[in-house]
């Protein structure tokens, strides 16, 4: 059977959509530019925030500072910015709740006396643990206070003739084995998600146009009277959508590569492997998905009665294939052979491996590529069958 019909439809769809502002915006602008900018922005923000936080003094409001001059001197020598206030207990709660103060330290009246008698001397620390940005500050203040306590304890042991070391039977030594690359997991998850989504968006309007658009415009009937088998018409459209997806994918990955090189991930302790070589590997990992994505979106829009309905459906449906990625993030899934049979998830895992500069199993790549292409071809045939139905005419 002659395939010229497929070629004719493909060329026309490709050219027509090149002139359509909506297609161009979604294929060439939204995904490829906004996605990388978003991620770069988030990374840039957390870098500058992390830099700020580690340098900055922690502001602490202190009630009755005169009761513990030594403790406060210890704190202020270690990056705590002491600031005297007078509140009662209710006032202190209020001040923290309304964000007038971030951390308030209250020194009780008997602090000095109890300390001298060798009894536990309480201090009260007010803070709001629901504010993520302040939590680190509170943690540091707490740590400093207990360090101060520990120093006093050690002095007491010495005074009683006990070696302070003997009362510390266990010491924990932390070894952090995360490599700089593996620390970038969060950023990475966001990136792979956006790459895949942006790829799908690239072919969105072509898929809608394939059925709902042609029908609404009134050109579908005439198209169906041409001596080209009906399934060839949809194949041509699917191929055109797939090529737009490939363009969108390539641009998005390229933009990510460029954007990340500007952001300077090293400052965050992250080195993402996103040079030109890695970027082309990423594109190669995802490319088999274009046939799957284009067929999938065309099938869904084939069920819609109008352009608008198709847009609504696709807006929802486009996120479904990327759902497994969220589970991958939550469960911390690692690349396994079985998972390579799951489209989108296998691409996500492969991309993650590439960016983390870990060795790739050729077997995994082979399974991912082959299974994704098989699903894509099956979906394409399904779309062909759908295009043969009379209900298509609406």
């Amino acid at each position: 059977m002659s395939l010229r019909g497929i070629w004719a439809v493909f060329r026309k769809e490709f050219r027509e959509n090149l002139r359509d502002r909506r297609t161009l915006l979604s294929a060439l602008v939204f995904g490829p530019i906004l996605g990388p900018l978003l991620v770069a922005g988030v990374v840039q923000f957390s870098i500058s925030h992390a830099e700020e936080q580690s340098d900055e003094d922690i502001p602490v409001a202190v009630m009755h500072a005169e009761r513990a001059p030594n403790l406060l001197a210890y704190l202020s020598a270690r990056g705590v910015d002491i600031n005297n206030v007078t509140f009662d207990e209710a006032g202190a709660r209020q001040a923290v709740a309304t964000q007038a103060q971030k951390i308030i330290l209250d020194i009780p009246e008997d602090f000095g006396a109890r300390l001298q008698e060798g009894q536990p001397a309480p201090v009260v620390l007010y803070s709001d643990s629901s504010r993520a940005f302040d939590r680190r500050g509170v943690g540091r203040v707490q740590l400093l206070i207990s360090q101060y306590g520990l120093e006093i304890a050690q002095l007491r042991y010495l005074a009683r003739g006990i070696d302070p070391i003997s009362v510390l039977p266990i010491s924990v030594q932390q070894i952090d084995v995360s490599t700089p690359s593996s620390r970038s997991v969060l950023v990475l998850n966001m990136m792979t998600y956006l790459v895949l989504l942006s790829m799908l968006f690239g072919g969105l309007y072509l898929a809608i146009d394939a059925t709902a658009g042609e029908r609404e415009r009134g050109s579908l009937e005439v198209l169906l009277t041409s001596p080209v088998p009906r399934e060839h018409l949809i194949y041509g459209k699917i191929f055109a959508a797939a090529v737009y997806m490939l363009i969108s994918l390539t641009l998005t990955v390229a933009m990510f590569s460029v954007a990340m090189s500007f952001v300077g991930l090293e400052k965050l302790g992250v080195t993402a492997n996103l040079g030109p070589r890695a970027a082309s590997k990423l594109i190669a990992c995802c490319a088999p998905l274009i046939l799957f994505g284009a067929s999938y979106l065309s099938i869904v829009s084939g069920f819609a009665k109008s352009y608008r309905e198709a847009q609504t459906y696709l807006g929802l449906v486009i996120t479904i294939p990327t759902m497994p990625l969220m589970f991958a993030g939550l469960l911390g899934l690692q690349a396994k052979l079985g998972l390579m049979f799951v489209p989108f998830l296998s691409q996500h895992l492969l991309m993650t491996t590439v960016v983390r500069a870990e060795p790739i199993e050729p077997k995994f790549v082979a399974v991912s590529v082959a299974s994704t292409i098989v699903y894509g071809v099956l979906l394409m045939f399904l779309a062909g069958r759908l295009y043969r139905r009379e209900a298509l005419l609406g």
Partner: protein, 246 residues
Amino acid sequence: MLEARGLCKSFGKVAAVRGVSFAARDGQITGLLGANGAGKSTTLRMLYTVLKPDDGDALIDGRSVVADPLAARRSIGVLSHGAGVYNHLTARENITYFGELHGMSRADREARAAELLELLEMQPFADRLAKGFSQGQKLKTALARALVHRPKNVLLDEPTNGLDVMAVRGLRKLLTQLRDAGHCVLFSSHVMQEVEQLCDEVVVIAGGQVVAAGTLADIRARGGDRLEDAFVALMEPADAQPGAKT
């Protein structure tokens, strides 16, 4: 030459077409006349192969639309209801696209497009995107598209809908030219004057069935000297029939 032989088509429980038979000969303009919902469009859609008859068959130059729709499609040119064109293609590209779908070579389809652009006086907007076209310009584009592969048979579904007087006159001229060149022209309409002015033969459809067929004179003989009176006379028994899909 188009022949409908006992065409039947139902949509769910609604029987839109119930055994329609007629013939449209070469070198003639045949009008498919009927009220809205009489089954004209459904009949045409079976003839131009986008709907498959539940029963019966239609022959296009002897080729069955059921057994070999691809062959049947090669010898028909279709102007469907609404005449949608591709907004992001120029008039010329709209035409050559269909030439390509019909398997014409690049040189052939470009030459033919130029010919049609001239015939239909489309040069002023030939290379503009169809986005901003008027109804008349869209119709001309759709007509040229239907004729690009030089089809022997031309089927038009309510071609004059939404057109101004000048566009209708242009269309009439073109259909007459096609007839004189030996084509078989079949069009549907619910406008009496149009049918009266253009058609050599008329097929009147009501309630999904052919209630009368013949020359204008034959039809008039059934109910009065004006086609409209004859039409109303023919409709009376049909009014009892259940309505069908428009």
